[in-house]
């Protein structure tokens, strides 16, 4: 198997032997320990590649909520959920990608996230142009896919430093971004460029007339002999038509006299996101590497909120960021710190403003939702061979403090497994 990281190995003579051995090991380890930005090519290997991942966690909190999790000050939806105390299956996925020598590519993925249901997360097909000159890959795909505009938005818990999604992904993208659409991207030298057109099945958009999402993204991934960088970002526009928070079901229980509930509040309007992602991975010594990754989103929402009797105009200016410094040592251990914060500003106007603010979850007492956590991962089993097959088995210890709709801190211990194999297809 040819790991994508190997494509960015240094070629200059200086430090070649040490650097190659360090980065080869790091490249493999990074596939589990490093952020996704270190694997930027997105090229599909020729033949059939099967990969699987599993992540489970036992947590001390938070206690299950009676109603869907609501970050104060942000319309939510999609699959934005807090983890629950006890045992959870955070991630189980099986993915297959195929590339014919003609350039035809296809992929499919079965997965389960934080619940017992198994879904077809990806099913796509397309064409990938052969490499040549500065062009390292170029592809056009269509079908149900994970978005590529952010390197980390769809990272499975078996690969992520933490078992739970970031506040930013939960609030802006309903936990993750997976939709049906068309994706075109190319990697030209150190640049990755792409555009995606989505039909709007995923939050914050809605499907059908008046809905949908579009995004463009660009990343620059330079590297030196001892450091790798990624700097880039994305622009996303989405439209929602009569969007409701689908996490809310009809089996509601009313403990107050209010008849206006969040599941009746609908949003009709658009959102624009500007995201910036930056990261660097650098060697501190032959066996120790450090990373720093950060992401920043500026978002603007403008539309109308209404229920059966109320109407209000909503303008929202949202900012979110997370920073994640980490250390990787001995090739199989990592310590990661994560801090994230949301700044959510809403202006509601019109007759229904007062009536809708709380049912919509937009009431905010002037506190920025935030969370922080520390994760330690150790992979005692780390198979690496010349064959196309590899597998990893590790544990994760994590501590998380969240102050975003709930206030809690909890610890978790989890099991991580990943495996991948590649097959030649004639």
């Amino acid at each position: 198997m040819k790991h994508p990281m190997k494509r960015s190995l240094p070629t200059q003579p200086a430090r070649r032997t040490l650097t190659y051995s360090t980065l080869t090991l790091s490249a493999f380890i990074y596939s589990s320990l490093a952020p996704a930005h270190t694997t930027g090519s997105h090229a599909i290997s020729e033949g059939l590649t099967l990969s699987a991942g599993l992540a489970t966690t036992v947590r001390s909190g938070p206690d299950p909520l009676d109603t869907p999790w609501q970050i104060p000050g942000k319309l939510m939806g999609g699959e934005a959920n807090l983890p629950e105390s006890g045992f959870t299956l955070d991630d189980a996925h099986l993915e297959a990608t195929f590339r014919h020598r003609s350039g035809v590519v296809a992929g499919a993925e079965l997965s389960s996230h934080h619940d017992s249901s198994v879904t077809f997360e990806q099913a796509w097909a397309g064409f990938q142009a052969p490499e040549g000159g500065m062009l390292r890959s170029a592809s056009l795909m269509a079908g149900q896919m994970n978005a590529a505009f952010s390197p980390e938005i769809n990272l499975h818990a078996s690969r992520s430093a933490f078992s739970t999604p970031r506040l930013m992904d939960s609030s802006f993208y309903g936990g993750h971004f997976n939709d049906t659409g068309v994706k075109g991207q190319m990697v030209l030298s150190d640049w990755q460029l792409g555009a995606e057109l989505w039909q709007g099945d995923t939050f914050p958009a809605t499907p059908g007339q008046g809905g949908g999402s579009q995004d463009v993204f660009a990343y620059w991934r330079p590297s030196t002999s001892s450091a790798q960088w990624v700097i880039g970002g994305w622009l996303l526009h989405s439209r929602a038509d009569q969007r409701i928070d689908e996490r809310l079901t009809s089996g509601h229980s009313h403990g107050t006299v209010s008849v206006t509930t969040a599941d009746t509040v609908r949003y009709d309007g658009g959102e624009q996101h500007l995201g910036v992602h930056a990261g660097v991975t650098f060697d501190i010594s032959a066996t120790v590497s450090a990373q720093f990754v950060a992401e920043w989103i500026e978002a603007h929402a403008k539309g109308t909120l209404k229920d059966t009797t109320h109407l209000a105009e909503l303008e929202g200016d949202y900012r979110g960021y997370w920073i994640q410094p980490s250390l990787i040592w001995s090739g199989n251990q990592s310590l990661v710190f994560r801090y994230e914060r949301l700044i959510l500003k809403n202006r509601l106007s019109g007759a229904g403003a007062t009536a809708l603010v709380d049912p919509a979850g937009l009431g905010n007492p002037g506190e920025d939702p935030e969370s922080m956590g520390i994760s330690y991962r150790f992979y005692p089993i780390l198979s690496q061979s010349d064959s196309a097959f590899w597998h990893q088995l590790g544990i994760r210890l994590e501590w998380t403090r969240v102050d975003a709709g709930i206030e809690d801190d909890y610890v978790g211990i989890g099991l991580l497994f990943r495996a991948q194999d590649s097959f030649a297809v004639n």
């Binding site: 200059q12 403990g255 006299v257 008849v259 660097v280 920043w296 500003k345 002037g366």
Partner: protein, 393 residues
Amino acid sequence: MKSGHRLQPGFWAGFCIFGLAACSDLSQTTLDSDGKIASLFAWNIPDDVPLPVEPESNPLTQAGFELGRHLFYDARLSGNGTQSCGSCHLPEKAFTDGLPVGIGSTGELHPRNSQSLINTAYNATLTWANPSLRSLEQQIVIPLFGESPIEQGITDGNRDEILQRLRDEPRYEALFADAFPDEGDPLNYDNIVKGLASFVRGLVSFSSAFDRFERGETSALSASAQRGRALFFSETLECFHCHGGYNFSDSTTDRSQTFIERPFHNTGLFNIGGVGDFPADNRGILEITGDPSDMGKFRAPTLRNIALTAPYMHDGSFASLPEVIRFYAAGGRNITEGPHAGDGRSNPFKDGFVTGFELEPSQEQDLVAFLESLTDTEFLSSSHIQNPWTDAP
């Protein structure tokens, strides 16, 4: 990037950290309710309850309310001088009369029960079953001038005489002048209607034991009432679907609303002949709309002060709250004999929420205790809504 570049990872990482920290800000949500809290009247309504709608042609003022109070309790405002609005809407009975159906000034029976006037300002529609009656100014002309049935009995033949009675009352000159300061001769029927509407509109009540409990006074409700509250808002009993919201009625409107819902419900009181019929003189909004599916549909009244407003239902057919609860527990009423015989439980037009439920006797008592907690004794005993003529010389 090529090897000649000089990127210092540690420097840039630190720069980003400080940059992010420097950009710290505070979340906030601001509301502009579009002037929806403006009023000339001291509503005395809790902050979490929106204000009622005031018509532009008759904004509520204290002077208008006071004029209306005098008119409301003045029997001279009837054809034969024997009946005031307050004759059928007594404050001690939460502005009902305790009778199954109302009785007009000439003794004619109204086909329907006299409704409470508390929080009428929030009604999406007025009376028991008229989707077209949207304002108190529209509604009040019916008891004043209606001929079928006759209530106040004001006719073309006596209207001038009645007006003269009011002119002869010394108090009214100042009351009308205060309420309508821009008019030279404000004592006319248009302003009488406006005055009456102002008084009724100002009868708002949100100070019951239940309200105090909801605002955090945990001792305001007895343990039994708290259990009844849980039952009331449960999906098992479904009460709150039609009697929910701050006014305990789904037919509620206020200034925050842009779209007005006007729901009506058939609760299964009758099923004459097994075809869904109601008595010929009391068939709900069918009488207005002509739509056969509207048979037996009536507006869900507020349950505020409900313990004082017996008998219940649009025809006053239940004498007590336990009777009403048992009726809903049965999912309707089965009349086995007589001209109205029929099983209301299977009325084809019955509301989907009236499906019946089972209650233990103690639970029935809890539910009654909760309904009794909706009585606002503070408001009903306050002097500003009482009959002003009792101290007349």
